[in-house]
């Protein structure tokens, strides 16, 4: 187990102006168990407490209560040991704008104890991996968002840490750069590096991680593999828009092949295992009651449906 956390909590005292303060419970009791070598995701909307959790695990923020071990060391009492074992790519990236990316790479490597020669060799390796060789000597402020992210990732990996934290690694990237970054993260797993990443993108957690937790309001609301979680909410989801949705909701709830119905902003979402066969039956049932559809669609259930089930909100709205 590379990460073990028990009942982690963090309460911030935030200033509210005029000398008043406010208690913000950012993380309210989180338990984590991340296996060595897996890609583990924390999925949740903005403000859920993902960054705070990662910061506690990475020894930046001291937990208000609870305990955590990272790479076998306590994050509070053995912080120095933890720091030797991790790479940390913050949400903001942490690339120094005023220096070439190569200089940041070499400095980071040397701070971790490498000689100049070793640091240069390792930096070269990463520049090649991330196709950064051509822009290695350009001041980072002249780089594009995607290039900077790649440098951020390279800096996080330069010490060959057994565990890397990636806080919202693809926020702000275009689809092409996102896909490339996903490939890089998968390569890390192939090399045996453990990854804890946070994201508010469903597809990212779905495509990338071995296991995940869904976090909302500082708490874990669901945990498992993407497959397991989706199975919880049945395989398919039919989304309907129609007038008289209250009546329709009752009708659909009465259908034996429909597992669950949820109403959300004038839309009805019906969960069922076999959408292809269920759909015609649903249409017939609605027709019998003279309920006219405005639109209908059939989709595979996503992690958003899992989030909806546990929080009553859609992640798209919450984020």
């Amino acid at each position: 187990m590379i990460i073990e956390a028990h009942d982690l909590r963090k309460t911030f005292t935030a200033k509210r102006g005029r000398g008043k303060t406010e208690q913000v419970e950012a993380v309210r009791g989180i338990d984590l168990a991340v296996e060595t070598g897996e890609i583990f995701a924390a999925l949740g909307p903005n403000g859920a407490g993902k960054t705070t959790t990662v910061r506690m695990l990475a020894t930046f923020t001291v937990p208000t209560s609870g305990s955590a071990k990272v790479a076998g060391y306590d994050v509070v009492s053995q912080a120095a040991k933890v720091r030797e074992s991790i790479g940390y790519v913050s949400q903001a990236g942490g690339v120094d704008d005023n220096a070439p990316g190569l200089d940041s790479l070499i400095l980071t490597a040397r701070l971790a104890g490498m000689s100049l020669k070793q640091a240069k060799a390792r930096a070269d390796e990463l520049l090649t991996t991330f196709s950064l060789s051509d822009i290695a000597n350009r001041e980072a402020k002249t780089l594009s968002g995607g290039q900077k992210r790649r440098f951020a990732l390279a800096i996080g990996l330069v010490t060959r840490p057994p565990l890397v934290f990636l806080d919202e690694p693809t926020t702000g990237l275009d689809p092409q750069n996102r896909a490339n970054l996903w490939d890089e993260v998968r390569k890390l797993r192939d090399e045996g590096t453990s990854v804890l990443l946070t994201t508010h993108y469903l597809d990212e957690a779905d495509a990338l991680c071995d296991r995940l937790v869904i976090i909302d309001n500082g708490k874990i609301v669901a945990e498992g593999t993407p497959g397991e979680l989706k199975k919880e909410v049945a395989g398919d989801v039919v989304t309907l828009k129609l007038k008289g949705s209250d009546e329709a909701e009752d009708v659909l709830k009465a259908q034996p092949y429909i597992k669950e119905v949820r109403a959300e902003d004038g839309l009805l979402r019906a969960y069922l295992d076999d959408g292809e066969h269920g759909l015609p039956m649903m249409l017939r049932a609605l027709e019998e009651r003279n309920l006219t559809l405005e639109s209908i669609s059939l989709d595979r259930a996503t992690l958003d449906d899992v989030f909806l089930k546990h929080t009553g909100r859609s992640l798209r709205d919450a984020a």
Partner: protein, 249 residues
């Protein structure tokens, strides 16, 4: 510890060398004062010759670089509290005081180079000082830079807001200039002014500089200035370390 400090120092010096123009900008002010103001000052000192005027005025002009240069050194670090650079360094194996110390060392070196240029100009204009006085003056500048830069990083880490820090520095820069006797020795003024000046660390630095330029290397103002600047730098450095820790909330 020392290794980490030197690594940061090396990294920062490289950054500075990529933009040497800013260091040159930093001495434009004192250079202008030396060229345009010192001759004027001479006319106000009865029977004063240029050599004496420069010995009195040059230390003040040099301290100006510290006031208007080193005190702003922390500006770059404010952005680093937000863009994740400090966050990344804080969870790296880096020795934390080295993060600030390496930068302070870079600022000290920059200040010493700038001070050397200003002193060379003053020599051209007619200043006459001994080699030991020249070297001691550079050391004094280094100590001043250490204090001013540490203070600036301390402010940057504690306030973390460009507006806030620039307001504070601007607010204090003028009274510090006047109360250090940068242009004219404070002891020409009334007693109360002299008393107030005693609370200004720069006052001691300027006084020590004047003693050195008079050739009075053993004057008590010299060790007092060094001691004070070093102690104050240590205090501000400790303060900035505490602020760095509070960055995490």
């Amino acid at each position: 510890m020392l290794r980490h400090t030197l690594l940061f120092f090396d990294y920062e010096v490289k950054n500075l060398l990529r933009r040497p123009i800013w260091a040159v900008f930093g001495i434009i002010q004192p250079v202008m004062y030396l060229i345009f103001f010192a001759p004027l000052l001479r006319t106000t000192v009865p029977g004063g010759n240029m050599e004496q005027v420069l010995a009195m005025f040059t230390p003040g002009a040099m301290m100006m670089i510290a006031l208007f240069g080193s005190l702003f050194a922390g500006f770059g670090m404010i952005n680093e509290t937000r863009n994740g650079v400090l966050e990344r360094l804080a969870v790296s194996p880096a020795w934390r005081p080295g993060i600030v110390l390496g930068r302070v060392m870079k600022d000290m070196v920059a200040l010493v180079v700038q001070a050397t240029l200003v002193m060379l100009l003053a020599l051209l204009l007619g200043l006459r000082i001994t080699v030991p006085a020249f070297l001691l003056m550079l050391l004094l500048m280094a100590a001043t830079g250490m204090f001013a830069a540490s203070l600036s990083y301390g402010l940057a880490l504690a306030i973390r807001d460009e507006m806030g820090v620039s307001q504070i520095v601007q607010f204090f820069a003028l009274p510090l200039t006047l109360l250090a006797g940068l242009f004219l020795p404070v002891n020409l003024g009334p007693q109360w002014l002299q008393t107030v000046a005693k609370f200004n660390p720069l006052y001691y630095a300027v006084e020590a500089g004047r003693s050195l330029f008079r050739g009075d290397l053993g004057d008590s103002t010299v060790p007092v200035a060094f001691g004070l600047l070093i102690v104050l730098a240590a205090i501000t450095l400790t303060w900035s370390m505490r602020s760095l820790r509070s960055l995490a909330g």
